[in-house]
């Protein structure tokens, strides 16, 4: 399975945010998107996640499982917001996403308890999500990536609000996902410490 992007461009209002971006990612490959604030990293990731319409170009999956029309159906998206409910416990949040998302073909998610362990917060999944600190909330949002299998991970500033230890832990999670044949697209300012990866430098407005 390969993720192919050809001549992608996106517009916000009058401005062309980026133009003619093409890349191809094979299983086990990562794309690191870098660039200054406002250069269109998040916009690119939202286009890839199917949340914004592309102005031109196309993205598709070559040789993936049948029955999926768009790559976003096979993707996890971790945006700036954590997509977890403050009123529910972490356990309830994770098990909701586990059963709502379901597994993509070719893999299985791990249990919510194991996902809590994997992000180093195994003991506190019984707490309401709103009680956790910003860093802990971010880690639990990452645990969401593990409870349901998706071959493609789209990560927008995944390590914001994390300490150095959690940074490392997250790099390990991403590396393990790549090892299993996953694809990762991440926008970040800090290096994620992933071995084999392509880089995409966003430059900003094209008027």
């Amino acid at each position: 399975m390969r993720l192919l992007v050809e001549g992608l461009s996106a517009r916000r209002g009058e401005d062309l945010i980026f133009n003619d971006i093409s890349f191809a990612l094979a299983p086990g490959e990562a794309l690191i998107v870098t660039g200054p604030n406002g250069s269109g990293k998040s916009t690119l990731l939202r286009v890839l996640a199917g949340l914004l319409a592309a102005e031109s170009g196309r993205l598709y999956i070559d040789g993936g499982p049948t029955g999926f029309k768009h790559p976003h159906e096979l993707s996890h998206y971790l945006g700036h917001r954590n997509a977890m409910k403050r009123e529910l416990t972490v356990e309830e949040n994770l098990s909701f996403w586990q059963s709502f998302l379901g597994d993509s073909p070719g893999g299985a998610g791990i249990s919510t308890a194991a996902a809590g362990e994997a992000v180093g917060l195994g003991g506190i999944t019984h707490l309401p999500f709103g009680y956790l600190s910003a860093g802990q909330q971010r880690r639990m949002a990452m645990a969401k990536l593990l409870v349901a299998h998706r071959p493609i991970w789209i990560l927008d500033e995944p390590t914001a609000a994390l300490d150095a230890g959690a940074d490392r832990l997250f790099s390990e999670l991403v590396a393990a996902h790549l090892e299993r044949g996953g694809i990762v697209i991440a926008a970040t300012h800090q290096p994620l410490g992933i071995g084999q990866s392509q880089a995409l430098q966003m430059k900003g407005f094209v008027h």
Binding site: L51, G79, H80, A83, S95
Partner: protein
């Protein structure tokens, strides 16, 4: 999908969920009417069904704006939009959960409030039946308004204004069915059937329109 239904139900009954808010508002509206109208029992019995229906309509509009806005604020809406499952099914399930948490309590509370209005058993029964058949339509119509106003910071009043004209037929046929049941010559079934038809119609149109609005609200 069942997981989504139960999650929304849980959120509605937890602190800050606002499931009971609608019922409290409903009670407040109906409870102050006798004080305003005065102790004319016959008059109260005559306007009772209409007051209950108007109270229920306003109470159902109360929490509607949060239906998708809460999902958008914490980023859950993005994930709901990305899935392979059709969005209109997701919207439909969210509507049924919302109705179970806010609409159903109104139906359950209506007989007690009917006593406030000096209504007889037949009138209370007919009001309950029409509310049960009619309030889902208000939720489905409201979902469209909520989806249109999802990106607005204070969309609450706007949703009510957008939704109210479409909800007026529900009110008209709901109340006329109740009066048909208690006043002899008019038959009960035709307006009641039309009320149910309206609910079924909006159960189909509402999620489709709301899903389309949500797709275009993405930013």
């Amino acid at each position: 999908m069942i997981a989504l239904f139960f999650r929304d139900l849980k959120l509605a009954v937890r602190a800050g969920g606002g499931a009971m808010l609608g019922v409290l508002f409903f009670m407040t509206v109906v409870a102050v009417i006798p004080f305003g109208v005065g102790p004319d029992l016959n008059l109260l019995a005559r306007i009772g069904p209409a007051i209950l229906w108007i109270g229920a309509l306003l109470a159902s509009l109360l929490g509607l704006d949060r239906l998708f806005q809460a999902e958008r604020e914490d980023g859950s809406l993005d994930l709901l939009l990305m899935q392979e499952t059709p969005l209109l099914l997701t919207v439909f399930v969210k509507c049924t959960a919302h109705w179970s948490a806010t609409g159903l309590p109104l139906v359950v509370a209506s007989p007690f409030l009917g006593l406030f209005m000096n209504m007889n058993e037949l009138a209370i029964g007919a009001t309950m039946a029409t509310l049960l058949a009619g309030t889902p339509a208000i939720t489905f119509i409201g979902a469209v308004g909520a989806a249109v106003a999802v990106a607005l910071p204070r969309g609450g009043l706007l949703v009510s204004i957008l939704v109210l004209p479409l909800a007026v037929p529900v009110l008209i046929f709901g109340i006329s069915a109740v009066y048909a049941a208690i006043e002899d010559p008019a038959p009960f079934l035709p307006p009641f059937m039309i009320l149910m038809a309206i609910t079924l119609f909006f159960a189909v149109i509402g999620p489709v329109a709301a899903a389309a609005a949500l797709r275009h609200s993405a930013d």
